[in-house]
Amino acid sequence: MRVTFRANGRQVEADDVWEGESLLFMLRERLGLPGSKNACEQGECGSCTVYLDGATVCSCLVAAGQVQGREVRTVEGMADPDTGLDPVQQAFVDAGAVQCGFCTPGLLIQTHALLDRDPQPGDNDIREALSGNLCRCTGYEKIMDAVRLASARRCATPSEATP
């Protein structure tokens, strides 16, 4: 079947989509958007996290056909072509929160959603928000630092907050 939807603000179309296929597979294998990572395929690891109509979801657990006519935003859509990395991405780089990088796209999206909802989260809020994203390299401390850093920068320069 054919699936038409918006990905990172652009109208896209995928053909010959298998009816039981996941949004994740369609993004990676049919639309050239391999940023969202495929690991557990059961919603345990969060490395495939994307925005679907503004809510973060595990794209491995959304059927491709379900996004017909809807809006998806992936890690590829975070950086701005003019201004560069999203502040959340920059904070992850600056805090050293990226090691092998596999879990990073999911963490970036989930952190972005957290800070949009709550620009100054406490540590417990951060842990709760990221509880569905597994990282096997960092021990999470650098990730916590990155989220705190992104939060601090955002609150220091509210006019430059991410859209």
Binding site: G43, T49, A55, L61, E128, S131, G132
Partner: protein, 306 residues
């Protein structure tokens, strides 16, 4: 495989009638796992995401149910239940907040828990505890059937829906007293319950002279189930001692006995998540704790009202 995309509820019912083997998919948090691992390949998927009314809820009075009721659309995600219904349905909101991760709670719904009818579904103990007049609205082209929650679960991952029926909504009485939920797992997130317990106090009102209590056991029997003897014991104890009216201490013997009866109502098995013996032990502990939490809240509410 076919992918059916009904635009309206009537179209969905017609599609389910035409092909009863079509598997409904909403949040996908259970269905897609089965597909990704090729454990199950249905002839057709019936996507319910386009049907707006499934993600709405309303508060009102309904025939056959006393008092105010939340009619909860089958696909309202857990994140919204916690955000919007914590006051009206506290037990379900607490249970819902233990489902998976934030990403899963943005997609998973009570309709999905009921459709899957896993004994480990987090919503079930809260629904059972909320009362015997919790009703599942099952609809087909033949009409609407209201299934009492106690008749809904019939076996391991089996419910009492007919092949052509879809879950439209669940009607849950607005909480009339404290409700809570407790769940055992290896960590605080991404946990399928080792076992779980839902508890609710239903104090006496002008319409109902006898106060009652509600219980729900998860992951410790072939189906979610209540603990009827524990409910009866506590209901009688509270009435005989006049505790509903004055609150105060229940006493350790009552709490202990309640825990024993709750654990005795389960029929757990040994599996990868835990042993039967552990589950029984944990259920007794959770029953004692949830009773104590709820009763303390109730006593507090009497005092602040006085």
């Amino acid at each position: 495989m076919e992918f059916l995309r009904p635009a309206t509820w009537d179209e969905a019912l017609a599609a389910k009638a035409a092909d009863p083997s079509a598997l409904p998919i909403s949040g996908g948090t259970d269905v897609m796992v089965e597909l990704n691992f090729d454990r199950h390949r249905p002839a057709a998927l019936l996507d319910l995401n386009r049907i707006g009314e499934l993600t709405t809820w309303e508060r009102g009075t309904f025939e056959g149910q006393r008092g105010e009721v939340i009619r909860l659309g089958a696909a309202v995600p857990y994140s919204r239940i916690t955000a919007e219904l914590s006051d009206a349905l506290p037990g379900l909101a607490i249970a819902g907040n233990t489902v998976g991760s934030p990403q899963i709670r943005n997609r998973g719904s009570v309709g999905g828990n009921l459709g899957g009818a896993s004994p480990a579904g987090d919503a079930h103990p809260a629904l059972l505890a909320a009362g015997r007049d919790v009703l599942v609205e099952a609809e087909s082209v033949r009409g609407t059937r209201l299934i009492p929650i106690d008749e809904f679960y019939v076996g391991v991952k089996r419910n009492s829906l007919a092949a052509d029926e879809l879950i439209r909504a669940v009607r849950i009485p607005v909480a009339d007293g404290p409700q809570t939920f407790s769940k055992i797992g290896t960590r605080n997130a991404m946990v399928i319950a080792v076992c779980a317990f839902g508890f609710a106090l239903h104090p006496p009102t002008e319409h109902r002279a006898l106060g009652t209590v509600g219980t729900g056991i998860g992951s410790a029997a072939p189906t979610p189930r209540r603990a009827p003897e524990a409910e009866l014991f506590l209901t009688e104890e509270l009435a005989e001692r006049g505790l509903w009216h004055r609150g105060g201490l229940l006493g350790p013997a009552v709490i202990q006995r309640f825990g024993e009866l709750a654990a005795a109502a389960a029929s757990p098995i040994d599996d990868v998540r835990g042993s039967a013996a552990y589950r029984r032990h944990a259920l007794a502990v959770m029953a004692r704790r949830t009773l104590t939490w709820s009763w303390n809240d109730y006593t507090q509410s009497l005092r602040s009202a006085a």
